[in-house]
């Protein structure tokens, strides 16, 4: 069912397209079973139990080790049955799933409706560490299993992502996680400290064999319920390498077969145009659905005036930055959402780069250079903005310096505050910043409520600006209950226009995810949804599998 997405959709993004196959490869050899591939991880998952962990790395690994009720069709991006044979939408708030018979867990235990019900109910136990997902699944009012192969779910009120969130819900093996007759606390303890969070037992085409230190090894699961898409490779490894430069060296060395954090500089630069690279590797990119932004703290008086926020956006030379840092390979964002999805209006033009216009706007807002020292000031106070960010990301550091230079031309001083990840997050949560440079990684369609709705304006929420705009609230609530996809697209686009006009964020860029992978891998396609590749369709042509290349 997983077909490669037509390249047309990608072309719209920029002039050229898809993977750059330097050498024209002879027709793909016949897929053959066997062989191994190693995939690079930029972070080590805390646990493989996706109910307790939210990191992108865990999600990527579980694509191969676990299955969900529904899955996103790579082509039409619609939800198609996966663990369930079929499903009915009785009314906007209740759904019935008919499970496929004969599905077994990796340890041979049969999969049935009870697993699904148990996986949904654990969010009601306050002591389980699934805080990030609790809000989403608390909306489920009732879930029941009339017989071992049917599950009935009912929501409190119509919600556009209802079907999606149930379909995407991580399914836990109840026979390993349920402690019969345990109290709520004991059950939570049993889940939080369950050894299977590390030695995961799932339903996917590959089952976990070993995980010590930085290397996770999975082998093909022979009793997978859909053998035709059960993966050709015998073994899939994931290897965690913290330092990107070291990982790239390991790729060249043959110790890694797919590296997903190629920098723009390396993608276009000498690293990937050397002889060694061209002969043995390919490079490619795919839309990442992630974008960077500076969130303005609307509680700070000087940033409450929308003219000031627009002026700051107009003073930053996005085009020059896009050309020097991204070499043109990035989308300048004009709203929240994944730029390739159809919920995002790509025709909304960004604010023009106009320093003089910006100065005029700031003057209107009362900021002029009264004492002639080259810096804008108002009522004796200089216009200085402290932008917080975490020091791990090289691109965000570069963007801060570029912003500092561009704004100094209109007399605005930017004081960068680069802290380690946790300190930065704590200050962001306590809203101790003027601007907060960070980013989102979003699926095709996401619920804007936690990020922009006024009820999340205060408290440790994702609504960093503390935006409280009735028009935005109305649009969000309307979109949430619009089940029809086409009308919902129009609602989200109207929301995007409204948000861009309010400028709670200085919207940055959405660079694509850039890959380098070994030519020995065949069947490698790059698709829209995270993680952008389908490891189970990779294969090594017969005769090259068993050979352990001499390192």
């Amino acid at each position: 069912m997983r077909l490669a997405i037509p390249l047309a959709l990608l072309v719209v993004l920029s002039q050229a397209c898809g993977p750059d196959a330097q050498a024209v490869r002879p027709g793909p050899p016949q897929p053959a079973y066997g062989g191994r591939a190693t995939i690079h991880l930029e972070a080590l998952p805390k646990t493989l139990n996706y109910a307790l962990e939210t990191s992108a790395v865990t999600r990527r690994i579980l694509y191969e080790l676990n299955e969900t009720l529904l899955t996103e069709d790579w082509n039409t991006l619609e939800l198609v049955p996966n663990l369930c044979a079929s499903f009915e939408v009785e009314n906007p708030t209740s759904f019935v799933f008919h499970l496929r018979p004969g599905i077994v867990w990796h340890d041979g235990d049969p999969f049935d409706a009870h697993d699904v019900v148990f996986s949904a109910l654990l969010y009601r136990n306050p002591k389980v560490n699934c805080d990030a997902k609790r809000a989403q699944y608390k909306r489920i009012v009732e879930i029941s299993a009339p017989d071992p192969l049917t599950v009935r779910v009912r929501y409190d009120k119509p919600f556009f992502r209802a079907l999606g969130s149930v379909g995407d819900m991580p399914i836990l093996p109840a026979h390993l996680y349920e402690k019969p007759g345990a109290s709520e606390d004991e059950q939570a303890e049993f889940i939080n400290r369950n050894p299977h969070n590390h030695d995961w037992v799932g339903l996917g085409p590959y089952k976990l064999v070993s995980w010590d230190g930085d290397r996770i090894v999975a082998k093909r699961f022979d009793k997978y319920f859909a053998p035709e898409r059960g993966g050709y490779l015998d073994e899939l490894d994931w290897l965690y390498v913290k330092d990107d430069a070291a990982a790239f060296q390991a790729l060249l060395n043959g110790e890694i077969d797919l590296f997903g954090r190629l920098s723009t500089e390396d993608y276009f630069g000498s690293a990937t145009s050397s002889e060694l690279f061209r002969e043995k590797f390919f490079k490619a990119w795919a839309p990442s659905g992630a974008y960077g932004f500076v969130a303005w703290n609307l509680r700070r008086p000087r940033l409450q005036d929308v003219r000031v926020r627009r002026a700051l956006a107009m003073a930053f030379d996005f085009e020059a930055f896009k050309k020097s840092v991204y070499r043109g390979l990035a989308v300048q964002m004009t709203g929240h959402g994944a730029p390739e999805g159809d919920f995002y209006d790509r025709k909304l033009a960004p604010l023009p780069f106009d320093p003089d216009g910006a100065k005029k706007l700031l003057a209107e807002a009362g900021w002029t250079d009264h004492d002639g020292n080259g810096r804008l000031d108002k009522d004796g106070e200089e216009f200085a903005i402290e932008v917080l960010s975490n020091s791990g990301n090289a691109v965000s550091e570069t963007m801060l310096v570029a912003m500092q230079n561009d704004w100094s031309r209109i007399g605005v001083v930017l004081k960068p505050l680069l802290l380690d990840f946790n300190s930065a997050k704590e200050r962001a949560t306590k809203r101790e910043f003027d601007g907060y440079l960070t980013g989102w990684a979003l699926p095709t369609e996401s619920d804007p409520e936690p990020t922009f709705h006024s009820k999340n304006a205060s408290g440790p929420t994702q609504n960093f600006p503390g935006l409280a705009d009735p028009e935005v609230d109305r649009l969000i609530e309307e979109g949430q209950v619009t089940l029809d996809r086409a009308t919902r697209v129009l609602v989200w686009r109207e929301l995007q226009h409204r948000l861009y006009e309010l400028q709670p964020y200085l919207w940055g860029f959405s660079p694509p995810r850039k890959f380098a992978y070994s030519q020995k891998l065949h069947g490698v396609e790059f698709v829209r949804p995270d993680p952008n590749y389908v490891a189970r369709r990779w294969y090594l042509p017969a005769g090259t599998q068993g050979t352990r290349e001499k390192r």
Partner: protein
Amino acid sequence: MAELRTVLQCWRRRPLFWAALALVCALHALGAAAPLVANDAPLWLAAPGGARFPALEPLNACERFVLLLAPWILCTPLWAASSWRTRIGFGWPAFALVLALVWQLSAGARTFVPAGEWKRQLGAQSALFAPIPFGHSETNSSEPWRPPTWLAASEIDEQGHYVERNVMGHPGGLELPPSPVEVRAGEPARNAALRHPLGTDALGRDLAARVVWGARNSLAVGLASALFALVLGTLLGSLAGWRGARTDLVVSRAIELVLCFPVLFLVLLVVSVGSGGVSAVWTISGVLGLTGWTGVARLLRAEFLRLREAEFVLAARGLGFSEWRIVLRHALPNALAPVIVATSFFAGTAMLAESAISYLGAGLVEPEASLGGLVRGGTEHAWMVIFPGAVLALAVIAWNLLGEELRDLNDPRIPGRRA
């Protein structure tokens, strides 16, 4: 001329020592005079109302004092070796005072001028630029990641394409056509060999300027933490060595406490808390000093324990000198030699520690430049790794060599080494 002979004679006797001292002083002078060495604002500008010094105007009093120290530091080897000491001794302060007076007159209202702005507004006025005409934060989006310009691979034609295709060009045509290189007033020509002798970084900032200002910060950290460790170590070391067993016990336990403390953690703690007003250079020096004093303290304690029973100290007590007088006039000078040796070694170690911390992203990070931080920025490009690392190694070698020579100089036990 007789003075010159004594200086040369002194240098010939201990060549390695004077070479090390000269290298250390030259590096620190370069760091102190960074505004004059690498600056985008012109040093001198012929203005209608009289000459202006745009490069020096934005400096505050403390930066100006450091700048004034530069010539004095540079001549330390000359000054220390010659019997001109008295003449040179008086000469320099006078010269510095004159310079300060002239300067004070010329300082206009300190207007804040954005990086590169002077070059844009220069127009026809004649101006003198620093040897490296680039500011440490002056970006040039038209030449990011440019290899050192003395390499053939770094040649760029008018449209901005690299002449040698394979270095930067991209067959897929995916990349936007680069804009032509923007050569601003006062800068060498586009393909001049010395335009970017060490290349540029992601934002087109000249690496040579970044290295000069990075060296300024790294050297400042090295020196400051060494002095901090010296003062703290001498204080606690002498207390432990001289006073009774009780203080000795307390100080030894404090030493053990510091030895067990994870240094990296303290730096992370302080940098994330203290990075408000004070620049990270001083917070890191403070931390390295706080954890580095144990070496000096242990050394001094051993020396003092030995000296406490030395005959001349008993004799001095016999003459009724006060305890403090004995310590200051007799014990300390004797113990000072090994302490100074340990301090110069620690200066090198502190710089290595700072660079390691900055490399991990916890110490001096953007936009402040530090030799360790620079390497972190471009591990995939040879010139971004080699040049900052080489300058750092050179500075550390200078300090260690100075320490080694100082040790041999003062070590009576090695026969025939008396200066």
